[in-house]
């Protein structure tokens, strides 16, 4: 069954069914999923560099004890912006970019279901990011108090009392949230309504399953967070008392609202990668993915459990013993579906015909490092042990072991895996391997010392520390700069891949499977001129 889609694309009542505009208007007005996906990816990587540069400033300050380079107020702005930029400016847009670029291709769809909404969703992002960082740059030239400086958690009452950088952050978060919700709506509608004929939900690639759970999570949590920051805004300027105990409010309410978003957010960042990694493992072990249904059920189990465990971030905020026990056990319960997924990934590799091209290196690196992140999370989930580690550098190391391997290494695995499909060129494997090993060395050198100083009692979010922590902090700073340099190698790799390289076949990797590998490399502007059918 083949159908010419050129004449009745879902959005093709005119302008871009055949040819894109030229120049800037192509990018401003485009409704093509590849164009929009590419813009998301470029935006996300740009924000990664900005957020990374900020944290390098922090690490430079922490190289030695005492105040070296900056005042504590500026330090606070840097760590806050680093967190907000990396989560909302880098990780989520890059995931949305991958969804935009690849979902229609793996589903056999002509485009995303709601292309104009897609365009709108992206173009909200740049002004939102500008709004987030503008007070920072104004502060640098002496205008205003600088950027939001509350930490990315924006805890009340500090966020209610902070300078007007907080107002900018509130509006930025609102806009980023709207963008994220629009993207999620598009993902859900595309997956449910636009699959190729014959592709039932249980024939759908795991990549799509990961994004389906993610999108549903986002639509559930982001409006609550939007409600929370609206309350902060009201408390700041309209004399309400949501978070003011003297007026009948409760500052701990903010923590509940924030972590109701903040904890599922971890899985929002993780689940797309858990859907993507099996594609890479399958391709480079040259066998079917192990436990397809088990992985799908695990994703849904994680999605449900993610919604009911948020207060494990609040063990030290004051909580009844019953509450602590509930949140401890429910948190630990998440390790079960995650363990199922780990088992399936390893079983996919087991007795496979393995080869370690760059995407595979990053996928295996993700599994190992994220495993460490998960295991150290179990320590923090223990309500009895948590007060020893909470707000210490152990926590910082833990969540970087959870988030960096997923959002960065997982995204790198995906980008390197599909790059031949995007550019039509094979990667220079030598440079890819160099990138991977520099990441591994830099990342572990940065964060293993942070486990050590955290266990020894060094609190996070301070620009100064006792002399006893000096050596580990020096190592961590050296590691951070190596890690920062690794991203320049990544940019070089992508740039040189765009400019040239060995020609990629339609099926660029010998063991790759999926509809995206049935079209030429690079994929045509409209991927499926003839709609594929799944037998």
């Amino acid at each position: 069954m083949a159908h010419d889609l050129a004449h009745d694309l879902p959005h093709a009542d005119g302008h871009d069914a055949h040819h894109p505009y030229g120049g800037a208007m192509r990018w401003i007005q485009t409704t093509n999923h590849k164009d929009i996906g590419l813009m998301y990816l470029i935006f996300g990587i740009t924000m990664l560099l900005m957020g990374g540069a900020m944290i390098l400033g922090v690490r430079a300050e922490l190289f030695r004890p005492g105040l070296q380079l900056m005042q504590p107020e500026f330090f606070n702005q840097l760590i806050t912006l680093h967190g907000l930029i990396m989560v909302f400016g880098f990780a989520m847009p890059v995931a949305t970019g991958l969804a935009n670029y690849m979902l229609p291709m793996v589903l056999g769809a002509p485009d995303m279901a709601l292309p104009r909404l897609n365009n709108w969703g992206f173009w909200i992002l740049p002004p939102a990011a500008l709004m987030l960082v503008l007070p920072f740059f104004l502060g640098l030239v002496g205008i205003g108090p600088g950027a939001v400086d509350t930490g990315w958690t924006m805890y009340a009452p500090l966020s209610v009392q902070s300078g007007w950088g907080m107002d900018f952050a509130i509006f930025a978060v609102h806009m980023l949230g709207v963008s994220s919700i629009l993207g999620s709506i598009n993902v859900i509608v595309t997956i449910l309504n636009m699959r190729a004929p014959g592709m039932t939900l249980f024939k759908m690639p795991l990549f799509a399953h990961g994004f389906l759970v993610t999108a549903i999570l986002l639509i559930t949590i982001m409006p609550v967070f939007a409600g929370g920051v609206t309350m902060v805004l009201m408390d700041r300027h309209f004399d309400t008392h949501f978070f003011n105990a003297a007026g009948g409010g409760d500052p701990v309410l903010w923590q509940h609202i924030f972590w109701f978003m903040g904890h599922p957010e971890v899985y929002v960042l993780l689940l797309p990668i858990t859907g993507m990694v099996p594609h890479v493992l399958t391709a480079f072990s040259r066998k079917q993915t192990y436990g397809y249904r088990a992985q799908v059920y695990s994703m849904w189990a994680i999605g449900v459990l993610a919604m009911v465990v948020w207060a494990h971030h609040m063990f030290t905020s004051g909580m009844s013993t019953g509450g602590q026990l509930y949140f401890m056990y429910s948190t630990m319960l998440i390790s079960l579906p995650l363990a199922v997924m780990f088992f399936c990934w390893i079983a996919t590799l087991w007795r496979g015909s393995l080869s370690f091209e760059t995407p595979m290196l990053f996928a295996v690196g993700f599994i190992i490092l994220f495993g460490w992140g998960g295991l150290t999370g179990l320590i923090l989930a223990d309500a009895a042990a948590d007060p020893q580690y909470h707000n210490a550098y152990f926590l910082v190391a833990h969540f970087h072991y959870a988030l960096y391997p997923t959002t960065v290494m997982g995204a790198m695995a995906a980008i390197y895996y599909w790059l031949p499909k995007w550019t039509g060129h094979m990667l220079n494997e030598r440079m890819g391997r160099i990138h991977f090993w520099v990441v591994m060395i830099g990342f572990n050198l940065t964060f293993i010392p942070q486990f050590m100083v955290g266990l020894a009692g060094m609190p996070r979010r301070i620009p100064d520390y006792p002399l006893m922590f000096t050596e580990w902090n020096m190592l961590s700073t050296v590691g951070a700069f190596i890690l920062g340099a690794s991203h320049l190698i990544f940019i070089y790799n992508v740039w040189s891949n765009i400019r040239g390289g060995d020609k990629a076949e339609a099926k660029a990797w010998e063991g790759a499977e999926g509809l995206e590998w049935t079209v030429p490399s690079p994929a045509p502007y409209h991927t499926f001129e003839k709609q594929p059918t799944i037998e």
Binding site: H3, A113, I188, N193, M194, P197, I219, G227, L253
Partner: protein
């Protein structure tokens, strides 16, 4: 019975379904936002 995708009407119907589902999800998001704000409104 599977719809016949050679029929442009099927795509038009699909497009309508997409828009309807999009609006429904958007309405759900707005409802969650309103519930979050109103549930915790000050005394």
């Amino acid at each position: 019975m599977q719809p016949n995708p050679t029929d442009a009407d099927v795509w038009a119907q699909r497009r309508r379904n997409n828009v309807r589902l999009g609006w429904a999800l958007g309405a759900a998001a707005v409802a969650i936002f309103l519930i979050a704000v109103l549930k915790y409104r000050p005394l």
